[in-house]
Symmetry: C2
Subunit: 159 residues, 2 copies
């Protein structure tokens, strides 16, 4: 949990200041949870973890912090169809592998995959360049998801 060689603290401090945001205990904790945790947490899951660390943190701070983390492109928000947002770090200094998601439309299970990512990224960056030119869009990121039935959900039935 705790970083010892103090680069742990600082890499994102600069980012916060750069965007004009202050560094607060709540924000440190929320980001710390995202850094140290499993993927795609919901706001409530983050709140529960944060609250366990420091009961002074409220739901509001979690949502507001997530918003600015998204704005700074440190975090991505996903919709896996279960009615709540899911948040995870974008790849960054922590060396997170770029990945996409496989979503089961029946049980909402999500699998991260990194297979074929290189090809995808290559094609996407080409596409991105083309779209940027044609539509004069400043593209910041993309989303790819596959939907279907997972192992458990399609075994048995025939389709």
């Amino acid at each position: 949990m705790l970083e010892r060689h103090r680069r742990g603290q600082s890499w994102w401090h600069g980012k916060f200041s750069g965007y004009g945001y202050k560094i607060t205990a709540g924000r440190e904790i929320v980001l710390g949870i995202l850094v140290g945790s499993e993927k795609h947490l919901s706001a409530e899951e983050i709140y529960i973890k944060a609250h366990a660390i420091n009961p002074a943190i409220g739901m509001t701070t979690v949502y507001r912090t997530l918003d600015i983390l998204i704005e700074m492109r440190l975090v991505n928000k996903f919709d896996f169809g279960d009615g709540r947002g899911r948040y995870e770090l974008t790849e960054g200094p922590k060396g997170l592998r770029h990945h996409h998601h496989l979503v089961c439309t029946s049980c909402n299970r999500v699998i991260d995959y990194t297979d074929f990512i290189d090809e995808e990224v290559e094609l996407l960056s080409r596409t991105e360049k083309g779209l940027t030119g044609k539509y004069n869009f400043k593209i910041s990121h993309h989303l790819i998801q596959f939907y279907g039935l997972c192992d458990k959900c399609h075994s048995g039935r025939e389709n």
Copy 2:
């Protein structure tokens, strides 16, 4: 897919029956709106149009109809980040062009693009095959979206 005569009403009647759903006025109207209308409508927009055609149709029916249209893979649901679901026909007998979306994170404008689609689809189907094998997932569809700032939203500011 072979259909041409009596295409107006019937091509999807069979689909409904096949899934065990009855054909009702409300469902006909909702599907009709999706077929005849601009893209990515919200449930409320569909409701308003449907209600204008037949005031007996309620919001509930719109949502329920959309659910089964999605289940039958006649319709796709999208999340463009404005807090409401957006619905549009999947490509089908109507010859809708397969396309993906470019979403402005500032004003939520959505641009449909078909450029590079062939390459994308080719890569995706390759990826899909690989993922199906590796994770034993039965993939039914995919989602690709690019996010960024549109023309209007990034002109002026420098980033």
